[in-house]
């Protein structure tokens, strides 16, 4: 490669790198700075350095523990539902079926629905305690309809978010399944392996990597679920559906406590970075191959 090419390459790369660098470093630097200040937008002119007080305040706030718990439950439950159901649906779609492409379209559709739409449609048309479709189905079967957003608000949010992410898991696992060598499976079948052992000894090990990718990528997005909570429960009742993202939002734009919200923001960044660390390593390994 010529020296000129190399110089040109660097030149063409610069705008993207510079912009992303600024986009990262300026807001993040400001967040770090604000997190050490007493700074409330309602009391302008009262700003002062308070060291780590905001972190102490944020981390010992009972709301933080509640929202941390909600975040973990939400992320864990959605991951469990989407990877298990996603694997099953992907296996089903990998079978010989009539009209597979149409079924595929139906299965991936929820992924393209904007979060505010899916949340409001589920909350009203499906989960309404009197006129929702679930209430109708439940009472037809002789069950007492439940008021989802009063009795099990977090479960309601989990179901909505899982419905949105199931297509993602399915699509990725299906792509991976289709690259599995048919001959390998046939050979196993001819050796007399039963369907279950083929699944556990051949299919599942092949899916280990894509499942890891699904879990890591979903986790990054699920840690900051926001719109679904914003339009349905507003974090309530009480703190029952407040996750960390929503708590920080409430602190910043409802209570205008810039200092505490910034401290919370940094906590969220640290949490996300733990996951990101593993994902970046995984992708990086793939890049060399």
């Amino acid at each position: 490669m010529t020296e000129g090419m190399r110089g040109l390459g660097r030149l063409l790369l610069t705008p993207a790198v510079a912009l992303l660098f600024l986009w990262m470093i300026i807001p993040l630097g400001m967040t770090v700075y604000f997190s050490t200040l007493r700074y409330n937008l309602l009391n302008p002119g009262m700003e002062g350095f308070v060291g780590l007080d905001n972190f102490r305040y944020f981390l010992t706030d009972p709301a933080f523990l509640a929202s941390l718990r909600n975040t973990l439950v939400l992320v864990g439950a959605v991951l469990l539902i989407t990877t298990v159901a996603g694997t099953l649906v992907a296996l089903l779609l990998d079978e010989v079926i009539v009209g597979r492409s149409i079924v595929r379209l139906m299965v991936i559709a929820p992924f393209f629905v904007m979060p505010t739409v899916s949340a409001l449609v589920w909350k009203n048309l499906l989960m309404h305690p009197v006129s929702g479709l679930f209430a109708f189905i439940g009472s037809s079967l002789g069950l007492t309809p439940i008021d989802w957003f009063a009795e099990a608000p977090l479960l309601a949010i989990i179901l909505i978010v899982a419905w949105q992410w199931l297509p993602f898991a399915t699509l990725i696992l299906l792509t991976a399944l289709q690259s599995l060598d048919e001959e390998q499976k046939e050979a196993a079948e001819m050796d007399g392996a039963r369907a279950l052992s083929t699944f556990f000894y051949i299919t599942l090990p092949h899916l280990a990597r894509p499942i890891t990718v699904v879990i890591l990528i979903e986790t990054i997005f699920l840690l900051t679920v926001f719109a679904e909570i914003f339009v349905t429960t507003g974090g309530g009742p009480g703190l029952q559906t407040t996750n960390i993202a929503f708590l920080i939002y409430a602190q910043a734009l409802i209570q205008y406590d810039v200092g505490a919200a910034s401290a919370g923001g940094l906590v969220a960044v640290v949490l996300a970075n733990i996951v990101a660390f593993f994902l970046v390593r995984l992708v990086g390994r793939n890049l060399e191959a």
């Binding site: 063409l12 986009w23 400001m30 149409i102 079924v103 904007m114 505010t116």
Partner: protein, 276 residues
């Protein structure tokens, strides 16, 4: 497809798959149906599935209640604008990393990926304050900017994976014939990269169209795209299900069609090439 499968198995699997597909798709179908009901019918128990008086009055009402077209235009401008600008920045960068790689290329790529992992809520406060001070709150330019930077890493990554698949010999042949780098970019590389660029645009328009963190926090009315417009139905007045359904159907229909075309790119774009 060399697998021999019995007809019975195919029949069972087909029925099962259609059943599962129908259940997953059902909320969208149900919303579509409700958009053609009157408000009373949409709220009625037991619900009617197909045998109701079909009406299109909700679609007219949605435009009348709050200017739907205005928000749809905002969505188009914000999603389209942010992707277009990201593309202008990303094409040179992806070209450089695919065809003139250096020792640092791999690290730069991974670093770009890691910027995408930063939770938006971690920088909500500073971005909000910067926007307030520069008068960018509730402005289209502000949203274009933030969504452009937010999606830039994905755009660069996708383009990079597509560019890397273009055979280098073709470029070398062009260079032998005396083509400059500029000519090579325009006449040789771009035509070969069009499918990859188109896929990148498709997926990122979808992501930007549905983005609901920054749009909800940084816009209220003037610049509000459809995500925010739909959110206004969360504090309802009176019976509103049919109107909510009509507004929602309009908001997701175009992107659903685009999405169905972009299935394959979805996997590639969202896994950063980790699953092929």
């Amino acid at each position: 497809m060399a697998r021999r499968v019995s007809t019975g198995r195919t029949l069972v699997m087909t029925l099962l798959a259609w059943g599962v597909g129908f259940v997953i798709f059902f909320p969208i179908l149900w919303m579509g149906l409700a958009s053609f009901k009157t408000e009373l019918e949409a709220f009625a128990t037991p619900p009617s599935f197909l045998f109701f008086d079909w009406t299109t009055e909700n679609y007219a009402a949605v435009q009348g209640r709050s200017d739907y077209v205005h928000h749809a235009v905002n969505s188009v401008v914000i999603a389209g604008g942010s992707v277009l600008i990201a593309l202008l920045i990303a094409i040179p960068a992806a070209w450089s990393m695919a065809f003139a790689p250096s020792r640092h290329t791999r690290d730069i790529l991974l670093w770009m990926l890691s910027t995408k992992m930063m939770p938006p809520v971690g920088v909500l406060v500073p971005i909000y304050l910067i926007y307030r001070n520069f008068g960018l709150l509730d402005s289209r330019i502000g949203l274009v900017l933030v969504l452009c930077l937010g999606n830039l890493p994905i755009v660069v990554w996708m383009l990079f994976t597509y560019f890397k698949e273009i055979p280098k010999d073709v470029l070398e042949a062009a260079r032998m014939d005396g083509a400059t780098v500029g000519k090579e970019l325009v006449y040789v590389l771009t035509p070969m990269a069009v499918p990859g660029i188109a896929s990148t645009v498709l997926l990122n328009v979808i992501l930007a169209w549905n983005e609901a963190f920054w749009t909800l926090n940084l816009s209220t009315s003037e610049a509000a795209p459809l995500t925010v417009f739909i959110a206004s139905y969360s504090s309802p007045e009176g019976l509103f299900w049919a109107k909510l359904s009509a507004a929602s159907t309009l908001a997701i229909a175009p992107i659903l069609v685009l999405g169905w075309f972009s299935q394959r790119q979805l996997v590639r774009g969202l896994t950063f090439g980790a699953v092929k």
